[in-house]
Each structure stands twice: as structure tokens, then as C-alpha cells.
């Protein structure tokens, strides 16, 4: 594959350059996007069998134990978009979630783990647009950003005008991050310019809020589609690419994640911009938390183990992590009811 970057403001040979850090969990050198460049993804080969083989073995090639495991699980909390996206969400429910986001670990555990001074919180709280105001209020005084899904989540089949207005609404309510969904039809029919224009318009509507593009990879089915959609979303200026809404038949999987992180690596090599990655849906265990972090470290390196560039979209994973951390502290297996509900 050989192609030229159409806009490469700080292009260098490698991905990694030091960047100033500002607000909590934000990548402040945002991906500005570039003109649509189909040559960066059309004809790009993705071999599913090989991807599955890599995904299967990558987690068997690395093992994280004892103190390191505790540290990795704490990092997973740091990178977690603690999420509630249910039809029965209420202000009260969101308050409870935000309380957990502020203090994801019981103080005695944080103490025992020697991280009491770290001010550990989750990476963000992720809710529906009408719940943003409740979340913002509940998180006042913290630097935890509020993420809102938008654009007719989860199917996205609303008129574009309304979807853009929804983004404006969520930003107006105080959301710092917008998790948009793409129109899957554009990928399935290979209408790349329609997809590009849509995401670019959404990015513009986000303003200062960061845009996470949900590809709904379960609907796209093939890994070639996933690679192409990832690339178009990044070219259109996505700050993050995200696997799933959590509502598709198949949500975050390691093979799909592998192809998305390779796409964002390739985008970075071409443009010099770092884009974040967010797997979402279906990850429930501490073991999953380790697996995805191993994937990020092996394929991209440590930069993608911080909330600026990596988030887990998960709701029940935290509970399992807490139990594992308590086990680490006490040496006894823990039980779920001992930990505060999210």
C-alpha cells in the first residue's frame, strides 16, 4: 500500500511525539481530519483467519500477575466510560452512577492498594442526551467528563438535521464528549463520501466536545468494512473510534478491535495524528479488561493505555474488577454484594 497524506500538519516518521496534557482524559491535540482519501483503505487487505488467530493468541502470549495485575485493573478503571444507556434511566439512576464514577473503589481498598492519593476516578460517565444535565450536576467539582450518545443512538436512522441538532443539544447540556453512530448503510453500499460528509458535519456540530464515532461493527460484519469505516471516520475528524453501541448482535470483540487499532495506527503513520479507541459492549470481566489492555500495548504501545486515547465502554466490568482487587488485597475471593453498586 502506498499513498500520500493529503493533510499532514505535523507529519513525522513515527506516531509518537510528546504532547501537552491538559484536562482530565482529553487528547488536546485533536485529530483535525483530512480530505477523504479512499486510497488509504480501498483494497486494504484484511484476512479474518489471521486476525482471529492473532486475537486468540495475543492474550495467551502475555500474562499479568500480582501487583502488575492490580495496577492494570486500576488503569482499566481510569480508562472506563462508566455507562448507563437504558430505557429506564432516571435522574436517580444517573446520580448513583456518578457517585460510583467519583469513587469507583471503596476507600479501604484504595488505601490497601496504596493508591489513596491518586484520586482515582473513571474516565467518563456515558449517558443519553436527556440525562446529561443530571450527570453534569452530579459530577460537579470533579474533572470527570460527561459523554453523551447522540445522533439517533443506537440505529442512527434519523434525518441528519435532527441528528446534528441532537449533538447541539447534548453539548448545550454540558456534554464534553459525544458518542455518535454512523449510518451503516453508507458502509454497506460503499458510499464513502456520504459517510465522510456525515461524520465531518457531526464533528463540526460537536464544537469543542470530542467526537467518538461508533461504527457498530456487528452490523458491518466484515473486517474490511471495519477497516474502511474506521479510516473514513478518522479522515472526517473523529477523536475516537468506537466499536459498538452495545445494542448490536455482536459487540466489542478482539479481532474487530485489532483491525480498528491497526487502522488508527495506519492513520497515525500517514498523518501524525493520534486517534483514540473505545471498545464497547460485551466486556464484563476483569479478564476482559486485561485482554484489551494487552492488545493496546502490543499493537500500539503505552500511549494507548491512558484515558486520553483509550476507553472501555462498560457498565458491569467495574464490579468484577473490584472483586479482583479485593482478592488481591485480602487473598480471599470476594463477593459482589460487598461493593457499592454503580
Amino acid at each position: 500500500m502506498s499513498h500520500k497524506a493529503q493533510s499532514a500538519p505535523d507529519s513525522g516518521p513515527a506516531l509518537v511525539t510528546a504532547q501537552p496534557v491538559a484536562a482530565h482524559g482529553r487528547n488536546d491535540r485533536r485529530n483535525p481530519g483530512m480530505a477523504l482519501a479512499p486510497e488509504m483503505f480501498e483494497g486494504h487487505a484484511v484476512n479474518r483467519s489471521a486476525a482471529e488467530r492473532r486475537a486468540e493468541t495475543i492474550v495467551k502470549r502475555r500474562s499479568v500477575k500480582k501487583e502488575s495485575q492490580a495496577a492494570w485493573l486500576i488503569n482499566a478503571i481510569r480508562c472506563m466510560d462508566l455507562t448507563t444507556l437504558a430505557g429506564d434511566d432516571t435522574a436517580g439512576r444517573v446520580h448513583r452512577l456518578c457517585a460510583k464514577a467519583r469513587r469507583p473503589l471503596a476507600p479501604h481498598l484504595a488505601e490497601a492498594l496504596g493508591i489513596a492519593g491518586m484520586g482515582l476516578t473513571v474516565g467518563a460517565v456515558c449517558v443519553y442526551p436527556t440525562m446529561v444535565a443530571h450527570a453534569v450536576a452530579a459530577l460537579e467539582g470533579t474533572s470527570i467528563p460527561v459523554a453523551s450518545v447522540a445522533t439517533g443512538f443506537p440505529a442512527g436512522l434519523m434525518p441528519l438535521k435532527l441528528r446534528l441538532e441532537e449533538i447541539g443539544y447534548a453539548v448545550g447540556e454540558g456534554a464534553h464528549e459525544i458518542d455518535i453512530v454512523i449510518t451503516r448503510e453508507h458502509v454497506l453500499t460503499r458510499d464513502w463520501s456520504a459517510l465522510y460528509d456525515e461524520v465531518a458535519a457531526m464533528r463540526e456540530a460537536c464544537g469543542h466536545a470530542h467526537l467518538k464515532a461508533i461504527l457498530a461493527t456487528g452490523d458491518l460484519e466484515t473486517l474490511r468494512n471495519v477497516y474502511a469505516a474506521s479510516m473514513v471516520a478518522m479522515q472526517a475528524g473523529a477523536d475516537f473510534i468506537k466499536t459498538s453501541t452495545g445494542k448490536e448482535g455482536v459487540n466489542a470483540t478482539l479481532p474487530v478491535s485489532l483491525i480498528m487499532v491497526r487502522a488508527l495506527r495506519d492513520y497515525g503513520l500517514e498523518t501524525g495524528h493520534k486517534v483514540g479507541f473505545k471498545p464497547a459492549g460485551g466486556m464484563k470481566t476483569a479478564k476482559d479488561a486485561l485482554a484489551w489492555q494487552i492488545l493496546m500495548k502490543e499493537e500500539l504501545g503505552n500511549d494507548w493505555l491512558t484515558p486520553k486515547l483509550f476507553r472501555f465502554g462498560a457498565s458491569s466490568m467495574l464490579a468484577d474488577i473490584e472483586r479482583q482487587l479485593e482478592h488481591h488485597v485480602t487473598g480471599r475471593y470476594s463477593a459482589g454484594h460487598r461493593h457499592a453498586l454503580a
Binding site: A45, N47, A51, S63, S68, W72, M118, E298, N302
Partner: protein, 787 residues
């Protein structure tokens, strides 16, 4: 230990050690040394040598150096057990193999940890790859034991098998040897490598634990001298060896003329071909699995990376980046990718070869490795086809990277090797990848994957990578024998044929010149000599060309040029063979009178011609039917076992049955797509030379059948020595058999030798599938699928 808060910042993996405690305790319990496992029990330790753990350099055990007497005791035990073991029903043997498979699974972690400590391979590989494959191999062959009586009708076990295995996959190679041997009803004497004998001894303990009938499995430890004692033992029926091509050659020579069956799984320098349309990230991971698996100490390691020039820069960059993430070190750490080199001697060999490569101009890109018996992952560029690093098997974590321009170029580079074990092809284009797979000369071709193994598929090489297969149906044939003809009463050593005038009487009729037949043309013998052909009672019949080594050279040349024959469809070849039958039948009278002229009765002569015509029909029928299989291996994989011709086969025909002997050997060979250089019956070559006109009129392409008359053993010697001959069938004298087997060691061509007088070619033993098996080799092509 850093604090958790610090670790959150560094996000290092930290140590993840696998505990060696249980294995260490077991080893401590054998601190006095291990004996051999003979006749169902362990012997007292004898003269012992040290076994070291390469990762630490520590001595972990002492094992007994097997003496000739030890080997003899083991062979005697195996011999006395063999009859009973073979007499068990397949089902009963299946239960024993099943028990072995079960126990291996029950002791899985013990075996993995022991293997890692003894060999230096990463625990991940021993745990996730080696040991599961070992169990799978025994399960699979429990199945073959159950089915052998019906699936391989008429076949019998070979008898007592001597098996010598290497140090790179100690337990897995043991499984590949013992499981099929036992399933088929053989008993074994196995010698593990001197560097890595411990899992074989643990396996022996498992045999003891399940109460396997004594003498069925015997394990003798020791070095090369012990191996020599096995190879040289008179009462062993078959030698199976996995190891270096160099030692394989010695074994071929040592067993020549002894009547021992032999299979060899030898070295390789396998190509890893990446086309421009490949998933390059996938191919990079493939390289990791190809050459940095097991420290590159893999006979089928994809050591020669060939990449399309169009994507070479990007591929190289991705590969170098990937190399930075390889972790080299403690094999017992669960996050280690590359462990210890098996022994300091091997490390020194790797260093020496790489230094030589650098002196020849290679540039190295290397990862890092700790001090001790470790070697960093290495990528060598600037390596030309003639360089040491491109031709020598390094058996270490060293890959070369070379570019190619076109598919044709890729094939030429891929096949530019003496070896032919395996190959890996990366392309998203199914036409391209299958076309490359069909053209690469290797026993295993992996498309978009590499180093994938399963007991259900055959593994083994072409060319100097050896012969015989392990795994699958084809692997079972390595431990079965179709009973051949009864031993001949006399040796097929024809009288000498002085190529001088004045020895025969006058010829009746017009004098005919039987020339040689090379490349579809009649050729005078290079030497310009002829020899007399006589009636059995001495009357002169005419002269035949006295071919010499240059005629053989020309014939082999012509055979090579006719390579299109192998690519023709089975149907096309069948048509030609039917046509041969048609023309032969049309001239039946002429051939019968020719045979009569040698002294046969009229009835016998007619029978021989009639049988020859039938044989043409039978092999014509087989030409498009003796096909391969699709093996049941892994999910979402098509594993194709294709029957391919050997290439150029030399055939030295027996003295009796001058027409039928020739036809019965040449036809199966060409039906399967081989080209042959045949030496007809030395005494009565004229029946074969009469066939020129039949071949000419039957559309047999020039060069497919070449005939050189003359002194059989002299010409066979030239064929045996010839590195461009892929197989040699010799039906002749005892001395000739020894000579052919001895000299075939040069390029390790497959030889098939028999007393020329043993087979009655007019009977059913003169034709059959066994001839077709001999005429083909199995190539396994792995094609994973999924989108």
C-alpha cells in the same frame, strides 16, 4: 517491587512465572539418574551424562548413555512383544492409545513445564501448542488403531521400529513417531535426543502407569552412538528418523541393502512468500509464528522471507516494529515469546553462521536477548540466493528478507533450494495463492498461515527434506507394509554383456537397429557400442545399444524438459495410456513373437502381451482417480492432501518379463504424471525398444518415457547418483539394491528396491495401488477461510 501506583504509570507486564516446583520435586526424586525404559520397566542407571536446562545452565538430571547391549535388550523386548501386540484387535490397541491420550491430558501441565525446563522453549508454546498436539496425536491414532483393519486392508505392520527423534519438539516428535507405529501394530525402540531426553522418560512413566503391555514401547537414552546402534541393529525392520539432513544421509547409507524400511523427516529452508495484495499485518504475525516460534529451531521454519518489491518497504517497517515487542528471556515466564536456545553448542552454530553471513555482506536487524544461552530475533537483509544465510539451515531465530518482482520470480526463488519441507504463501487472491502452492516443491504449504499442525494432516518433505509422512492417512502408510512377493530363490544378476562384435550368430531377416529412446527420438548410444541379445538357448536375436552415463544424463535432461506432462489432466494422461493400449493390442502378434524369440512358450508370450494391454487400461483408469483427500483438521480450514508426481523417476527393470515388467513399472509412474528414464531388461531389451513405435504413435509426448538399454547396474548407478532424479525404482540384484540405496543418499531421492526375480508380473502382485503410492508424494495445502 515497585508500588502499584508506580506500576499504573509504567504499565509493565511484571513477572509471570510458571512454578517449576512439582517438576523439580520429580527430578529430585531421580537424582541418582534415570535408566532406560525397557520391557515395561526402568533399568538401573548405567553410565550417565548430564542434562542441562539451557535457560539457566543448571544440571537438572542425569540419564544413561545407551550401550549396544542396552539397544539390543530393547530390541529383544520389542521383538518378543510385537507378535502379540499386532495380534490384538484394532479395538484393543485403540483402547491403549486412548489411555495414553487421556493420561497425557491429565499430566498436561507437568509435561509442559518439564519440556520448557529441558528444552528452553517458552512455557506458552509447550502449554498451548506442543502438549495439546501430543494428546491430539494419540487420540487421532487411537482412531486409526480402531480402523486399521478395514481402512488399510491387506496391509500389515512393519514390525519392530527404531525411532530417533530431535531436540526441538521432544515430546511432540515422540508422539508423531510412537502413535502411528503403535496404532499399526508395530513395537518401538525410541531414542530421544541427548539434549532433551526428559519428557520421553516421563512418557515412559506414563506407559508404566497405564500398564501398557511390556516391550511395546522401549525408550533408550543416549547420544549419536546409541542412535548408530539402533540404526545398525539387525533385528529392526524399520528406521524412522527426524533430524538433520546430514544425519539422515548417514542413516540412508547405513541402512542401504539391509532391507530395513526407512522414513526421514529432515531439514528445511522454507520460503515465506508475501505478495503485494496480502494482509501485511497478518503476514508479519506469520513471520513471528514462522521463525520466532521455538527460537526458530523448527525444521519447517519459514526462514526465507520473500516479499513483493512493491510492498517491501512497508512490510519491512511493520516487521521491524513488531520485532521491538518480542520478549526474549526466561522460558518459564508466561509473557516470554522467545526462550533459550537448546544448548550452547547450537548457540555457537547460530553465531557462526550469522557471522559468516555478515562477512558475506548481510545486514542485520536484531532484537535484544539476555546473557546466557539466548539469541536475539534477527532479520538479515542484503542476502543473495548464493549466500550462506539463504542456503544453510540455521535452526535459530534468524530470517532473511529478499524481494521478488513477479509470481514467476517468487516461484523461482522459493524453489531455489535443496530442501522441500514447507512453504507459506500470503495473498488474498485465491487464484494466485493456489497457483503458487501447486508450484512450490514442498510437502506442506500454508496459505495465509504458517506452522499449523494437526494429527489429521500429513507432514513431511520433498527433495532433501526427506520422505515419508507423519500424520493423517498418509502417515499411517509409513508404518504399514503391503506384503510383497515371496522372496526370490535366486538373485537377479544377469550375465555380463560384453559390447564387442562376433559373439552371436547371423540374424534372420533385415537387420534392425534398436537405438536408445530419448526425448521422443531414437538416439544412437553416445559411446557407439552395442551388445548382443540372444535367445535363452544362445541364438543371436540382434544388437541393443550399450548406453552409458552420458546417455542417462541426456535422458534425464529430456525427462526434465517434459514437465508439462505432470500438469496435464488425469483425463489427458488416461487418453494417452488408452492409446498406448490400443496400439499395443494392434501389434500384439509382433510383440508376442518377440517374446517367443527370447525363449518363452507361445502361450506365455501371448499372456504377457495381453496382460500388458490390460495393465495399460488399469493405469489409464487410475490416472484421474488416484486422487487426494480433504483432511479433517481445524475448523474453518480446508486441508487438501494432493497427490503429486515425484518428478523424474529412474526405473531399472527386472530381467524376467521383458515386456510386462517394463510396462508394469513405467505405466503407473507416467499415469501419475512422472517422467521416466527406464532401463529395460538387460538380457532382453528388445521388447521394450519395440515400444518406441507404440509410444510415437500414441501421442506420448517426447521425454515422458526415455529408454536407455545397456548394463543395468551400471546405468542405475548413474541414476542413483544423479541429483536431478527424484525417485529410483530398482528391480535387480542384491548388490544392486545396496548400491542404489547407498548412492540415493546424495540427494535423498526416494528409492524402491526389490529383487528383480521376486515378483510374478503376470499375477495380481504385478499391479496395484502400491505402485501408485510409490509414484506420488502427498502435498498438504492448508487454506484457512472466513471473511
Amino acid at each position: 517491587m515497585s508500588s502499584i501506583a508506580e506500576l499504573v504509570e509504567t504499565m509493565d507486564y511484571g513477572p509471570a512465572p510458571e512454578s517449576p516446583q512439582i517438576v523439580n520435586d520429580w527430578l529430585a526424586g531421580h537424582a541418582n539418574g534415570f535408566g532406560h525404559f525397557i520391557d515395561g520397566g526402568f533399568t538401573e542407571p548405567g553410565e550417565t551424562f548430564e542434562v542441562i536446562s539451557p535457560a539457566t545452565g543448571a544440571t537438572i538430571a542425569r540419564v544413561t548413555q545407551g550401550s549396544a547391549a542396552d539397544v539390543d535388550a530393547a530390541v529383544r523386548a520389542a521383538r518378543s512383544a510385537q507378535g502379540k501386540w499386532a495380534a490384538l484387535s484394532g479395538h484393543e490397541r485403540a483402547r491403549w492409545l486412548y489411555a495414553l491420550a487421556r493420561r497425557i491430558q491429565q499430566h498436561t501441565r507437568f509435561l509442559a513445564v518439564l519440556e520448557t525446563i529441558d528444552n528452553g522453549k517458552p512455557i506458552r508454546e509447550a502449554r498451548d501448542i506442543d502438549v495439546p498436539l501430543v494428546a491430539r496425536h494419540f487420540y487421532h491414532h487411537a482412531g486409526w488403531a480402531e480402523l486399521v483393519e478395514t481402512a488399510f486392508r491387506d496391509a500389515k505392520p512393519v514390525g519392530v521400529c527404531g525411532q530417533i527423534i530431535p531436540w526441538n519438539f521432544p515430546l511432540l516428535m515422540l508422539a508423531w513417531k510412537i502413535a502411528p507405529a503403535l496404532a499399526a501394530g508395530n513395537t518401538v525402540v525410541l531414542k530421544p535426543a541427548e539434549y532433551t531426553p526428559l519428557t520421553a522418560l516421563a512418557f515412559a512413566a506414563i506407559c508404566e502407569e497405564i500398564g501398557l503391555p511390556r516391550g511395546v514401547v522401549n525408550i533408550v537414552t543416549g547420544d549419536g552412538a546409541t542412535g548408530e546402534a539402533i540404526v545398525g541393529h539387525e533385528d529392526i525392520d524399520k528406521i524412522a528418523f527426524t533430524g538433520s539432513t546430514e544425519v539422515g544421509r548417514l542413516i540412508r547409507r547405513a541402512t542401504a541393502g539391509t532391507g530395513k524400511a526407512l522414513t526421514l523427516e529432515l531439514g528445511g529452508k522454507s520460503p515465506f512468500v508475501v505478495f503485494a495484495d496480502a494482509d501485511l499485518d497478518a503476514a508479519v504475525e506469520g513471520v513471528v509464528d514462522a521463525i520466532w516460534f521455538n527460537q526458530g529451531q523448527v525444521c519447517c521454519a519459514g526462514a526465507r522471507i520473500l516479499v513483493a518489491e512493491a510492498v517491501a518497504d512497508r512490510f519491512g517497517a511493520l516487521l521491524r516494529e513488531r520485532m521491538t515487542r518480542l520478549r526474549v528471556g526466561d522460558p518459564l515466564d508466561k509473557s516470554t515469546d522467545v526462550g533459550a536456545i537448546v544448548h550452547p553448542v547450537q548457540l555457537a552454530r547460530i553465531r557462526e553462521l550469522v557471522a559468516k553471513g555478515v562477512a558475506e555482506g548481510a545486514e542485520l536487524y536484531q532484537g535484544t536477548a539476555p546473557d546466557g544461552c539466548f539469541y536475539p530475533p534477527t532479520l538479515a537483509t542484503g542476502v543473495e540466493p548464493a549466500s550462506t544465510l539463504a542456503t544453510e539451515e540455521i535452526f535459530g531465530p534468524v530470517a532473511t528478507l529478499t524481494t521478488f518482482r513477479t509470481p514467476k520470480d517468487a516461484i523461482a526463488l522459493a524453489n531455489n533450494t535443496r530442501y522441500g519441507l514447507a512453504a507459506s504463501v500470503w495473498s488474498e487472491n485465491v487464484n494466485l495463492s493456489l497457483s503458487i502452492a501447486s508450484q512450490i516443491k514442498a510437502g506442506v504449504v500454508w496459505i495465509n498461515c504458517t506452522n499449523v499442525f494437526d494429527a489429521g494432516a500429513g507432514f513431511g518433505g520433498y527433495r532433501e527434506s526427506g520422505f515419508g509422512r507423519e500424520g493423517g492417512r498418509e502417515g499411517m502408510w509409513a508404518y504399514l507394509a503391503v506384503p510383497g512377493p515371496k522372496p526370490a530363490r535366486s538373485d537377479d544378476a544377469p550375465p555380463s554383456i560384453p559390447p564387442a562384435p562376433g559373439l552371436g550368430g547371423a540374424v534372420v531377416g533385415i537387420d534392425r537397429t534398436a537405438k536408445l529412446y530419448i526425448g521422443g527420438k531414437q538416439k544412437r548410444p553416445d559411446g557407439g557400442y552395442s551388445y548382443p541379445v540372444t535367445h535363452s538357448r544362445g541364438a543371436a536375436l540382434g544388437l541393443a545399444g550399450h548406453g552409458n552415463r552420458k546417455d542417462i544424463r541426456d535422458a534425464v535432461e529430456a525427462a526434465h524438459s517434459a514437465s508439462g506432462w505432470g500438469a496435464a489432466t488425469g483425463h489427458n494422461r488416461a487418453q494417452v495410456l488408452y492409446y498406448v493400449a490400443e496400439n499395443l493390442a494392434a501389434r500384439a502378434e509382433e510383440f508376442a513373437s518377440r517374446i517367443k524369440s527370447f525363449g518363452a512358450s507361445s502361450a506365455k508370450a501371448n499372456q504377457e502381451v495381453e496382460a500388458a494391454v490390460r495393465r495399460c487400461f488399469w493405469y489409464a483408469a487410475q490416472a484421474d482417480k488416484f486422487d487426494g483427500a480433504v483432511h479433517q483438521t481445524k475448523s474453518a480450514h480446508v486441508t487438501l492432501a494432493m497427490h503429486e508426481p515425484l518428478g523424474v523417476i529412474g526405473i531399472a527393470c527386472p530381467t524376467p518379463f521383458p515386456l510386462l515388467g517394463f510396462v508394469s513399472l513405467v505405466l503407473p509412474a507416467i499415469a501419475m504424471g512422472n517422467r521416466v528414464v527406464a532401463i529395460p531388461s538387460q538380457t532382453h531389451p528388445l521388447a521394450a525398444t519395440d515400444l518406441y513405435q507404440v509410444f510415437d504413435t500414441s501421442d506420448v509426448p517426447g521425454g515422458v518415457v526415455n529408454i536407455v538399454t545397456g548394463e543395468r547396474d551400471d546405468l542405475a548407478r548413474t541414476l542413483a547418483d544423479h541429483d536431478g532424479v527424484d525417485g529410483l525404482w530398482y528391480f535387480g540384484s542384491k548388490a544392486g539394491i545396496a548400491m542404489v540405496e547407498q548412492r540415493s543418499a546424495g540427494n535423498l531421492k526416494q528409492s524402491w528396491c526389490e529383487n528383480g526375480g521376486a515378483r510374478d508380473w503376470s499375477k495380481s502382485e504385478g499391479q496395484g495401488r502400491v505402485f501408485l503410492h510409490r509414484a506420488t508424494q502427498v502435498k498438504n495445502i492448508w487454506v484457512p477461510y472466513g471473511e
